[in-house]
């Protein structure tokens, strides 16, 4: 959890707006540090968290969360965190064995044309069952549910179509954000192309546009336009999209950032401590 980012977004573990869909995206840079921020933020806020980790192993997320002061293994044991480890699940599908049919959630690997229905079923069933379970047990009072996905563009690499991914995110939004009044954070990474819209519909570009339309807050990470720098790792564009009355109201802010060992600092452009 980066406190500077919290003050920018006006959230704390105790108070945050519900029903939000936060989109993290990057271009020629790496936005995955933001996923760790949201993971530790919502775990501290005592939300129930579903984490679909497709890119890295559980150990990776756990090691970083440890540095940010949150223990994933404990959260998992308490039932606060449900972790779907994509790498582990995929192996039994990619190298089929006769005995083990593999997990249902990663069914799309067998035939990408089917779409992400099985993955959505996994999210929906665990989300709704826990909502029921909460009323019955009432021993641990968890906050609103949160779904985190790291990251959607891996699905494209595995052969899933853009339309299927957009369907998945839309269904998740309907279930998590609207029905259960929870939050959703998704990461989508874009390929190096510098806005060269010359007719060919690149998958990740199209995905990013579709997701931007759905979400209520975007954090877009880019490298510095002036090139590589050791002390400033890039810039984040924060964009709020609020529906106020009849018109859309968007507000944009630009920050530069630097990732440290145990966090990240955000500052206004040109005010890096290395420059001043």
């Amino acid at each position: 959890m980066f406190t500077e980012l919290n003050s920018i977004l006006n959230t704390t573990p105790d108070s945050f707006t519900q029903g939000e869909f936060v989109l993290l995206s990057d271009r020629q840079s790496d936005a995955s540090f933001l996923i760790h921020h949201f993971l530790s933020l919502y775990l501290r806020a005592r939300c129930r968290v579903w984490f679909v980790g497709l890119v890295q192993s559980f150990n990776h997320y756990s090691a970083i969360s440890q540095r940010l002061g949150v223990s994933l293994t404990q959260a998992k044991e308490k039932g606060q965190l449900v972790f779907l480890e994509g790498l582990k699940e995929s192996l039994s599908v990619l190298i089929p064995e006769d005995t083990d049919p593999g997990s249902q959630a990663m069914d799309f690997l067998r035939d990408p044309a089917v779409g992400l229905k099985s993955l959505y079923e996994f999210v929906r069933s665990s989300a709704t069952s826990s909502a029921v379970g909460k009323h019955e047990e009432a021993e641990e009072k968890w906050g609103p549910p949160v779904l985190l996905v790291d990251d959607l563009s891996v699905l494209l690499s595995l052969g899933v179509s853009v339309g299927a991914v957009l369907d998945f995110s839309h269904y998740c939004r309907a279930t998590v954000c609207s029905q259960l009044q929870g939050n959703m954070v998704m990461l989508s990474r874009c390929d190096g192309g510098e806005e060269e819209d010359d007719g060919d519909d690149e998958g990740s570009e199209r995905l990013l546009k579709g997701l931007t339309h759905q979400c209520s807050l975007t954090l877009h990470v880019q490298g510095l336009p002036t090139g590589y720098c050791r002390d400033i790792h890039g810039q984040v564009e924060v964009c709020w999209r609020r529906r106020q009355g009849d018109g859309h109201h968007t507000q944009k802010k630009l920050f530069q950032y630097k990732v440290h060992d145990k966090g990240a600092s955000f500052f206004a452009p040109g005010t890096s401590s290395a420059v001043l």
Partner: protein, 408 residues
């Protein structure tokens, strides 16, 4: 200078008698027990050497176990192949197990070309050690006297290197002796020898890739490289070298068409490879003919599925070969991606302008810098200036004054 170097190079068993104090540095003994590895300074990750010292430095000390290094081949695949051979040779010397897969050359041919290790550290330690005391004063006498203020300045060093030595040195002009090579346990995967059974179960992956993935998993399970395997015997590292993935010989059409039919085959394979590596004590180097792949977006997603990625751009055959600017180098090296495994901040390199060169015996990566300008025009101008200065001096001697050459 020789003393600290020899202490570093010595195996830990030799040092243990001196280590009698009860205060011992807390280390994870499980990690130390594998030869040829060391924990990372930054995040405690277990590292192995790539065999190229400067590349190790560039990657933050070495390759982390469980990760993939992607090398984008240069046009003639000569330097990328050399890095792959360095990586395998380091595995032979450290007695790691090897897994070599190729579609073009037989893996045996690649193994026969491994560079010969320079095993000086074993041979040279012994004679150096006893006369060290007598040597040192002599050294100080022989040392050239320089002004004291320059004494503590570090030597200017353009080659990238870390302070302590990790890995071995190799002589690329010779090949490794067969007896050293055969001591290492090596698994082969040569695609033409592998009968590819058509498996309609998953449509995204090609048969060649799924056969490779399956044989990798077999080796990992059989030889006990799995992290979850019982710790019965001493652990070892599996080094995986995959040559020219994505080329047409693997049955892939990435490099042949603009819109490849099985465009997700390689990315799916790399995803499966990552899944395998993360749960085992193995490390992989993959080379890829990226100049044949037109689709930059696809290249981006391939890069993101590997942990480290570097690209080699050789001057061979290009007009840069004859450019005096680059006469010291054989090509440029681009760092496409640095790993951020188990840590938030990845260690970014200081410079992005890097070049590589192949010396007579050694491959090294250096910072790109311009050579001093000693071209003909410059020297002629300075000679003219000198002549002018000489006339001024003589004019000054004769007592006349007022010459435009004196104006600065």
């Amino acid at each position: 200078m020789a003393a600290p170097m020899s202490a570093v190079g010595k195996p830990s068993a030799e040092r243990s008698p001196f280590n009698t104090t009860s205060f011992q540095k807390k280390t994870r003994t499980k990690l130390i027990s594998i030869p040829g590895t060391r924990p990372s300074v930054q995040n405690g990750q277990l590292l192995v050497s790539t065999g190229v010292t400067s590349l190790d430095y560039l990657l933050g000390g070495g390759l982390a176990v469980g990760t993939v290094l992607l090398i984008e081949e240069d046009r003639y695949d000569s330097y990328s192949r050399m890095i792959l051979k360095y990586f395998l040779a380091e595995g032979v010397v450290c007695r790691h197990e090897l897994f070599v897969a190729a579609a073009q050359d037989n893996p045996d041919d690649i193994l026969q070309e491994l560079p010969a290790p320079i095993l000086d550290d074993i041979a040279i330690h012994k004679p150096v050690e006893q006369p060290r005391l007598s040597c040192e004063p002599q050294d100080s006498l022989d040392a050239m006297k320089i002004a004291w203020r320059y004494q503590n300045l570090p030597k200017v060093q353009s080659a990238l290197a870390s302070s302590s030595r990790f890995g071995h040195y190799y002589d690329v002009s010779k090949t490794m002796e067969p007896e050293i090579r055969q001591a290492a346990k090596c698994h082969h995967f040569y695609l033409p020898e592998h009968p590819t059974q058509s498996s309609p179960a998953h449509s995204t992956m090609l048969e060649s890739y799924s056969a490779l993935l399956k044989s990798l998993q077999e080796v990992i399970n059989r030889e006990g490289f799995d992290v979850a395997a019982p710790m019965s015997k001493s652990r070892n590292i599996l080094r995986i070298g995959l040559h020219s993935l994505g080329s047409a010989l693997w049955g892939d059409d990435l490099s042949c068409h603009d819109n490849p039919k099985n465009g997700h085959a390689l990315t799916t394979f790399l995803y499966g490879l990552r899944a395998l590596l993360r749960s085992s004590l193995s490390v992989a180097v993959v080379t890829l003919p990226s100049h044949l792949i037109q689709d930059r977006a696809l290249m981006g997603s391939i890069t993101r599925l590997c942990d480290n990625a570097i690209a080699l751009e050789s001057f061979k055959g290009s007009e840069r070969e004859t450019n005096p600017l680059y006469k010291d180098y054989h090509g440029l090296l681009h760092v496409r991606q640095v790993p951020h495994l188990n840590c938030l901040a990845s260690k970014l390199p200081d410079h992005k302008d890097l070049a590589f060169k192949l010396k007579r015996k050694q491959f090294s990566i250096e910072r790109l810098h311009l050579p001093p300008d000693l071209s003909e025009t410059v020297s002629r101008v300075s000679r003219g200036e000198l002549a002018g200065a000489a006339t001024v001096a003589s004019a000054c001697g004769s007592g006349s004054s007022g010459n435009k050459h004196l104006d600065f």
